[in-house]
Symmetry: C2
Subunit: 282 residues, 2 copies
Amino acid sequence: MSSGDPVTAVRVACCQVRLAVGDVDGNRARVRRAVAEAAEAGARIIVLPELANSGYVFRDAAEARSLAEPADGPTVAGWVDLALRHDAVLVGGFCELDPDRRVRNSAVLVDASGVRALYRKAHLWDREKLVFDPGDAAPAVVDTAYGRLAVMICYDLEFPEWTRMAALAGTQLLCAPVNWPQLPRPAGERPSEIVRVQAAAAINRMFVAVADRTAGERGVDWVGGTVVVDPDGWPLRDLVLGREATVVADLDLAAARDKRISEHNDVHADRRPDLYAPVYRI
Amino acid sequence: MSSGDPVTAVRVACCQVRLAVGDVDGNRARVRRAVAEAAEAGARIIVLPELANSGYVFRDAAEARSLAEPADGPTVAGWVDLALRHDAVLVGGFCELDPDRRVRNSAVLVDASGVRALYRKAHLWDREKLVFDPGDAAPAVVDTAYGRLAVMICYDLEFPEWTRMAALAGTQLLCAPVNWPQLPRPAGERPSEIVRVQAAAAINRMFVAVADRTAGERGVDWVGGTVVVDPDGWPLRDLVLGREATVVADLDLAAARDKRISEHNDVHADRRPDLYAPVYRI
């Protein structure tokens, strides 16, 4: 790096935390501990799971509502405090009660200056549709001290339109809180959620950092598929499937600005938007 | 299957053929032999590599032009003849001289009735840009005796807009002639081209059948990544990386009509096109 270049190499940690539905205090404490450990290990961008305050497997909409809190409530305020104390960027998911008293599956990006972005999951998974109102805004894209970061949540990742939108907005690192429910897969195969994240990263030449959760809940088990993927689509560390763990990786986020993959190819410039437009109006 | 249902289970073969640039007669003969063997094994849909008449690593545009032939030329006429003889659907790539004398990286879908679709690669790879005019039409989508098939070529697969367009048009089986150049990958990792195909299949819940080639050519080696992937995104057979081989799989194409993945999810109905449209106009 020549002098005067912006600092782009940064240590990222994704915390695969044990969560328990309804145990808001316990969840907060486990997240706080994981963040402190990640920061101590030098992480400056820290990603937490989806619904990290409430847990996931709600009995019904009423239970989710009872666990929801505003974006200026104690969970997010606590994360801002952690960001300030550890001089870090935090991305985490939480069960939100929005100003219109609708319940949302949300995530924030916070840094020492406060809440930089509030994102509400636009693609809801299964019974989430009975519990949450979906978001209506694009993926959050934020310039931080370390580069341009985007935020989306879990099932959002399975819509290439959504990951492409974030990428076309200049995202260098896509941060995704998830709760990936365990599904059957053939022997020897990597969880398909990770395969899709690898493809999204490679297709857009951006980094993707996913924080999943652990600890079975009311009959649902989790992949525990926390992973950091590089712009070639390769996981940067061994998978930590299923156990409590923090995945740490040092990323040169500037690499994600370069979309070239051969002398004559650029994964974004090679798009043919005039040919795509009509069908996306369907 | 109840009586009266359309027949949807079909044997598909993808022929990973040895090709040699400039050896049009030899390439035709090897393809003919591979198709005969696949048909004898019961295949009714047979997929061949990209540029199966000409080979790939042209010295320059003039060499490609010298090997190009019209869509009613001997290569495609020979494939129609094979389709008729073997009562099969054939999808294969060829170097085309179009009616305006432009050179194209094209593919046809033929059956016993003749040429059902002519597709011209819309996303050109590397030095192809110096050789071919890109296509300007959507992926070809054709109703055959066995179900709805789509055709695209190689690098096209890396544009989720393109695979989505084919899927939204009702494709049950996406057939893709490819020539995947060998690139470095970490130990233990599957070729990234296959990872991206797995993601495209799962994200759209459609089958994808890819026919790659073998035999190094002027310093370029090939993945030999021929693969048939199911709507969950899993390869249906062991990979045959790099060697001459035919991958055969029996597919229940009707399964690709069902886009549900949970009680409340459908991978296509869950899209939020109103939120996607603006950025795809970029």
